[in-house]
């Protein structure tokens, strides 16, 4: 007899429907899975057999054929275990099949018949809901994540026998209660606050401007100056994630399998710090399961490259597409997958390989050649996409001990949110969201310079040997500074301040 179960599979951060057809015939016993199953699905056979036996059902030796339709896309993961088992039980008439067509079933099985959590529940259910499906059977451990989807009737069950009793109408289970998204405005849950950082007012101001205008930032300073600490504060001054942003972020983390069952939806902006030895695949995504990489996990948050010159130039090169487009394309044998990758880049570096060039405490021991090599590693296309450059020097011990705590993150965040609002209005109806992403035409339109500003830029151009790109970075930054003070026009002090954060690449 033939049973058909509805399930969903992942492609990128979207789900697509897969019909699981289980045909059970008498004949030479066997268990075949067709329809381009990946190796993890081929192994489903063994898990399904044990789970069924250990749930006190009968795994009768039959000729079983499982087809995963559409048959022409390669499928991976273990989320089909449960639908295959249910299909077998229906095909062998051990459970009634009347209710089956109403549900989308997703879940992995353990050998003892338990239903295990799977990756990507959120994107799978959202796609299915949009395709018109209403009722879902998912693993109990995925309940929290699924509960945020409004309009879905989600049954989160713990074992194969529970699923069968439920489908047979014997077990009366309630759908998962809907959770409201709340980002707890006003509460800083990042475990660090800008007021923890003593001194460093130049760098803090740089962070504020960078976050307000979505500018990428490079911090340069000796070891222990507090660069990492400052970078960690960035999410605390970013606006709270909207529900849409939270869902999108959770989708990516869910697909990557790094959400946990307690958490449900990710409400904190990600802060990702891939090590400089990280492989290309872990950075951009891909690999056998086409998992999203660090650039996507940092979506809506911060990608922090500590010691940027240590990264391989190949790795840095791959950041260009996401920095430009906000997404990354991962090419696989059979298809091309796109993952969102809209992050703010924060990079840190030492002034030289030993870290103490220009320091007042310790003498630099690097040769000129070493210094030039080190600096040349970050030049080029990536530096062009970094608007703000901040020198960070260590703080005196006395300041560390007694320094007056500066503003806290909430105060700065309020200004950032105001500046972001101004930008939303400015760019309404365009694809641009922040000043950092302005096109040349938009710079012309929104950054008209008074004659005084113009002259200032001109003097700076000569004096600091700026490039044309350097000038447009300064103007974009000045636009953000003006937005932070609520000014409609860019004024001279805005330009002047922006010039302090110029990338000092060409100055000797």
């Amino acid at each position: 007899m033939l049973a058909v179960i509805k399930s969903y599979a992942l492609e990128g951060i979207e789900g697509y429907p897969v019909d699981i057809e289980v045909d059970v015939q008498s004949g030479i016993p066997g268990f075949d899975i067709v329809g381009l199953p990946g190796s993890s699905i081929k192994e489903a056979r063994n898990r399904v057999r044990s789970a069924i036996r250990n749930s006190s059902f009968d795994f009768m030796p039959r000729k079983v054929t499982v087809n995963l339709a559409p048959a022409d896309t390669e499928k991976n993961g273990s989320a089909f275990d449960l639908p295959i088992a249910v299909g077998f039980l229906a095909g062998t008439e051990q459970i009634p099949d009347a209710a089956l067509k109403d549900y989308v079933i997703i879940g992995e099985l353990s050998l003892d018949g338990g239903v295990r959590r799977v990756n990507g529940i959120l994107p799978l259910l959202i796609s299915a809901l949009m395709a018109g499906h209403k009722k879902f059977i998912v693993p109990r451990d995925n309940a929290k994540e699924a509960s945020y989807i409004l309009g879905a009737e989600v049954y989160a069950l713990q074992t194969l026998s529970e699923v069968c009793s439920f489908l047979g109408g014997i077990l009366d289970s309630k759908p998962v209660e809907h959770s409201e998204y709340s980002s707890d405005p006003g509460v800083n849950k990042y475990g660090i606050d800008l007021s923890d950082v003593k001194g460093q007012n130049a760098a803090k101001r740089a962070l504020e401007i960078a976050v307000a205008g979505g500018h990428n930032l490079l911090m340069c300073g000796p070891p222990g100056a507090g660069k990492t600490m400052l970078a960690k504060c960035v999410p605390t001054i970013m606006p709270d994630m909207t529900f849409e942003e939270a869902i999108e972020t959770t989708k990516i983390h869910s697909v990557a399998g790094c959400t946990d069952s307690e958490q449900g939806v990710i409400t904190l902006r990600p802060f990702r710090t891939p090590h400089h030895t990280a492989s290309l695949i872990s950075m951009i995504g891909g690999g056998p399961n086409s998992k999203p990489g660090e650039v996507s996990l940092a979506h809506n948050g911060v990608l922090f490259l500590d010691e940027m010159p240590e990264y391989q130039s190949k790795t840095l090169e791959t950041l260009r597409q996401p920095l430009e487009d906000g997404f990354i394309t991962v090419t696989r044998i059979h298809r091309v997958i796109e993952y969102p990758a809209g992050f703010m880049l924060i990079a840190s570096m030492n002034p030289c390989p030993c870290g103490y060039d220009g320091s007042r405490i310790k003498e630099c021991t690097c040769t000129p050649l070493e210094k030039r090599r080190y600096k040349s590693r970050i030049s080029g296309p990536l530096l062009d996409r970094i608007d703000i450059y901040a020198d960070v020097d260590g703080v005196d011990y006395s300041d560390l001990k007694t320094g007056i705590p500066g503003e806290n993150s909430a105060a700065v965040k309020a200004r950032v949110e105001k500046a972001r609002r101004i930008q939303r209005e400015r760019f309404a109806g365009t694809l641009t969201h922040t000043n950092a992403r302005m096109s040349n035409a938009q710079i012309k339109k929104f950054c008209t310079l008074t004659p005084g500003c113009d002259r200032l830029v001109e003097i700076a151009f000569d004096r600091f040997k700026l490039s044309a790109r350097g000038v447009s970075r300064i103007i974009k930054t000045a636009r953000t500074i003006a937005d932070l003070r609520g000014g409609a026009e860019i004024c001279e002090t805005d330009i002047a301040e922006a010039i302090q954060y110029r990338v000092r690449e060409t100055e000797a």
Binding site: P368, V392, Q500
Partner: protein, 359 residues
């Protein structure tokens, strides 16, 4: 064609002889035109330098076409050749032992007639060394002195650059062929000096840089100059060699004292220990010893407000970092940034590494 110059270009470019060998050959020839009368000199040359050398010279001595082609080549590359007998040849340079007989030049050769001062130092200087170099080079260039150096990394490049930035003149003496840019990343500076200054070398086009040539080059730097200033030299810096040349050639030597806790200034300080009278503490010290009036910066026309005055005065006392300036001025971070830029743009203060500022 053109007697002495022709003979030198023939010996240097076609026969491949360096200055010392050319000197000996000219001594043999005495007053005679060595090229025209070579057949009569052949026997003595063969006796002194071997018959291979003499044979090669014999073959080419009257080949006018070969020589003309060499001159054409130089002319097309924009290279001037000046022999020690030409009137453009700098008088001071003639006084040194073994002066170069033939100079290859690119740029403004009249600079060799101006008063010159050499500024040299290590290729791996400290920030202090670079600052000192910039200060002395700029000020002395503004006093009308031509700054002579060797276009090496570090102090040399900074000396050239500062002179040009101050609107002054500079001569770079190369330790490789006149058309070779070494180190290669000095290409922009090389071009600028060619345009606004003068490049000279004892070596013709195509001669690669090599270690024995740099000391030879150093004698020309000091030879062109009335005095040589060492701004920062480590224990083994090549600039110490130039300093010794200067003393041997009877030129003035000036040395800027360096940080005694830093190895980068060890050589400089040792020079001062040996010759305390060499120490100079400001560009004016150098100008005074050369008998010229020091240069005074015209007072900036810019009006500074109270806070700006305070800031500039504070920086005049010591280099301060951003935090210290916040405290000093009482400004917020944003206003301080804007103020710093303004003062920086007018050349009153300077942004240093690690968030420090100085005047």
């Amino acid at each position: 064609m053109n007697g002495k110059l022709g003979a030198l270009v023939w010996m240097n470019r076609i026969c491949g002889f360096a200055t010392q060998k050319m000197q000996r050959l000219l001594a043999i020839a005495g007053d005679a035109d060595i090229r025209r009368q070579f057949p009569s000199l052949y026997a003595r040359v063969a006796q002194m330098m071997g018959s291979d050398t003499a044979g090669l010279m014999m073959q080419t001595c009257t080949d006018e076409e070969l020589l003309n082609r060499e001159f054409d080549l130089l002319a097309r590359a924009g290279i001037r050749t000046i022999s020690y007998a030409d009137e453009e040849y700098p008088a001071l340079l003639k006084e040194i032992p073994l002066p170069p007989l033939l100079l290859y030049c690119k740029g403004d050769i009249s600079l060799m007639q101006t008063r010159c001062i050499g500024i040299v130092g290590s290729r791996d200087p400290s920030r202090y060394g670079l600052e000192v170099t910039e200060l002395f080079s700029k000020t002395l260039a503004k006093c009308g002195l031509t700054i002579v150096s060797g276009l090496a990394r570090g102090i040399d490049s900074t000396a050239h650059r500062a002179a040009l930035e101050a609107g002054g003149k500079t001569i770079a003496v190369l330790g490789c062929g006149i058309d070779k840019i070494y180190p290669a990343d000095n290409a922009p500076l090389y071009k600028k000096i060619e345009k606004d200054g003068l490049l000279i070398s004892e070596y013709g086009p195509g001669v690669p840089a090599s270690n024995f040539q740099f000391p030879e080059r150093n004698r020309i730097i000091s030879g062109l100059s009335e005095g040589v200033l060492v701004t920062e030299a480590g224990q083994k810096s090549g600039s110490l060699h130039t300093a010794n040349n200067a003393v041997d050639q009877g030129r003035d030597l000036y040395v800027v004292p360096c940080n005694i806790t830093s190895s980068r200034g060890f050589g400089s300080n040792m020079l001062i220990k040996k010759m305390p009278h060499c120490a100079v503490f400001s560009p004016d010290d150098v100008a005074e010893r050369l008998g010229i009036h020091g240069y005074k910066e015209p007072v900036s026309a810019m009006q500074l407000d109270f806070i700006e005055e305070k800031l500039v005065a504070g920086l005049g006392y010591a280099e301060l970092n951003f935090e210290q300036l916040l405290e000093l001025t009482g400004l917020g971070a944003s206003e301080l940034n804007a103020t710093l830029t303004k003062l920086e743009l007018f050349g009153i203060i300077k942004k240093l590494d690690n968030n420090y500022y100085g005047v």
